[in-house]
Amino acid sequence: MSRGYLIYAIDEPYISMANILKKSIEYHTNDAVTILSNKFPDGDATFGKKHKIHNFWQIYWATPYDETIVVDADMLFLNDYSYWWNYLSKFDLLFPDTIINYKQETIQHPQYDKVFIENDIRPAYEKMFYFKKSLLAQEFFTILEQVIKNFNKFSNIKGWKNLLNHDWISYPPSHMATSYIFPICIKMLGIEDVIYDKNDIFKYIDMKLSCLNTSNIIKWDEDLNYWGDYKEFYIENFKQYYPLHYRNAEIHTL
């Protein structure tokens, strides 16, 4: 069984970020890394689009590996997490159940996405996830294709209410982002019970402002002290262990 990391990155600055991430993975591990920015089996559907995630569903068919960990381009590997592979191979599709902030505090679901929680949909923490070539994963990516291709049906109030099967007023996702469409797909398939890592082994650090448990921060890369590079990285003197999702911050030391 082949194993490797796949980074989905279309256009700049994501391709540059993906290259830094690739370098960080290769520094800490001996695992294979692929950056997916073209050569999509079903063609490139992102031309002229603002949010370039229209090809995301093709990952399943594009990956050269039997087992893949998909990572967002704006992440950084800071340690060798090779021990994950043997654990992950027990699953067909796995997302982190919880993630942490740079202070190692567990992020609560409502902090991550209050609106989704109010609508009884939990966040998927899809910035890093694992899948194996399997029926469940294929099913997931197939529904993902449908949701991406028919996103306009969910992004209006009528479609949103139909999906949620309730009548109260709630606001549909405003634009196509993985953090919206992944939870929708998981909800539609009803697989919440099997695809989250209940053992909390598989996780990453997220720098989303609402999850930092602090006020007065507008841009974390300007308001917090950080130093280091992909070999080791510190934020406010906390040494970061897990993969860091730095969210488009301009980290000048990389």
Binding site: K103, Q104, N213, I217, Y234, E236, N237, F238, K239
Partner: protein, 324 residues
């Protein structure tokens, strides 16, 4: 060196001396030696540990003159820390925190309605490692009252350093003041130096040496960890030392354990004692941000960090009756 068998190890452990230690340096406002007598009485009653006092000659004279009792009735050992006064005067650090002719001034509350300024002589607390006469020691702040035997379990835990990382108010809620939770909301969690278990081991020595290092470079660490400027707080120094020794991580490990029966319950400076009965204490728990609002709470059989020292003084005799 041959390895000890498990049986020998436990035998060895039982021969190691254990005890409680208190630091008390009086000033014009607070009679710390008197508070230490109360705290030591609670330790003797509930933990049955020998107690030692570290003080200076002036504090001892002051106490004995005012109270007409001898401290050697409460403490097995009285260690006069001769260096203290000299250290305080020499320490370049102190001149920074000087107000008038007095060093390291802290504003103390006695309920929300009364305040007073008092010197806070805590710069040499890290030196306790060298001064303790015991192999295994629990260091108590003099405003800590022991009301059950659970802290004796610390001697059975195989961790060289144990302290409280969590605290709760008299209303069983998390601390109201942000710096009683973290040094800053972007920074590390606060660890309390109120009660510290330690043994004579290289790891413990490293911890107290690191504490000294943090104290000596307090300004630098203030800029790194972003805690409020001004007063030297040993809680901050301890929290930073632990974070540095843990490799800049906030993780659970075997070296630094949480003391038994965490969280530590505390009476805040703005709380007051309503009355003391034969089993427990009735408090006025003041509401943070609503100073006019006090809630009656009762505590019995719980260890208590009694921050409002003037309140202890007002009810001293009644409190002492709990421990005789």
């Amino acid at each position: 060196m041959p390895k000890l068998k498990k049986q020998d190890q436990s035998k060895n452990l039982s021969t190691l001396s254990k005890g409680a230690i208190f630091l008390a340096f009086n000033n014009k406002e607070i009679n710390y030696v008197k508070l230490a007598c109360l705290s030591a009485s609670s330790v003797r009653k509930h933990l049955n540990l020998p107690c030692s006092l570290i003080t200076d000659a002036g504090s001892l004279r002051h106490f004995e003159k005012l109270e007409y009792i001898r401290v050697d009735k409460t403490f097995e050992n009285i260690i006069i820390d001769e260096k203290t006064d000299k250290d305080y005067k020499k320490d370049h650090f102190y001149s920074k925190y000087k107000i008038g002719n007095t060093d390291n001034i802290r504003k103390f509350y006695d309920t929300p309605y009364s305040t007073f300024n008092s010197q806070f002589k805590n710069l040499t607390k890290h030196n306790i490692y060298n001064l303790t006469p015991y192999d295994r020691t629990i260091l108590f702040d003099v405003d800590f009252l022991v009301n059950n035997a659970i802290l004796n379990l610390a001697f059975d835990v195989n961790s060289p350093i144990q302290l409280y990382r969590n605290a709760q108010t008299l209303k069983n809620t998390e601390p109201d003041h942000p710096t009683d939770k973290r040094l800053n909301d972007v920074s590390i969690p606060l660890c309390w130096s109120t009660v510290i278990y330690f043994n004579k081991s290289p790891m413990s020595k490293m911890f107290f040496d690191m504490w000294k290092h943090v104290k000596e470079n307090y300004d630098y660490y203030q800029s790194v960890y972003k805690f409020p400027q001004g007063l030297y707080r040993t809680d901050f120094a301890v929290s930073i030392s632990m974070h540095l020794l843990k490799g800049f991580n906030d993780c659970v490990d075997d070296v630094f354990a949480e003391l038994p029966a965490s969280p530590m319950k505390y009476m805040a400076y703005k709380d007051d004692i309503a009355s003391v009965d034969k089993n427990g204490i009735v408090f006025f728990a003041n509401e943070y941000g609503k100073e006019w609002n006090n809630i009656l709470t009762y505590s019995e059989g719980e260890n208590l960090h009694m921050m409002n020292k003037r309140a202890i003084d007002r009810h001293y005799n009644k409190l002492m009756e709990l421990y005789v």
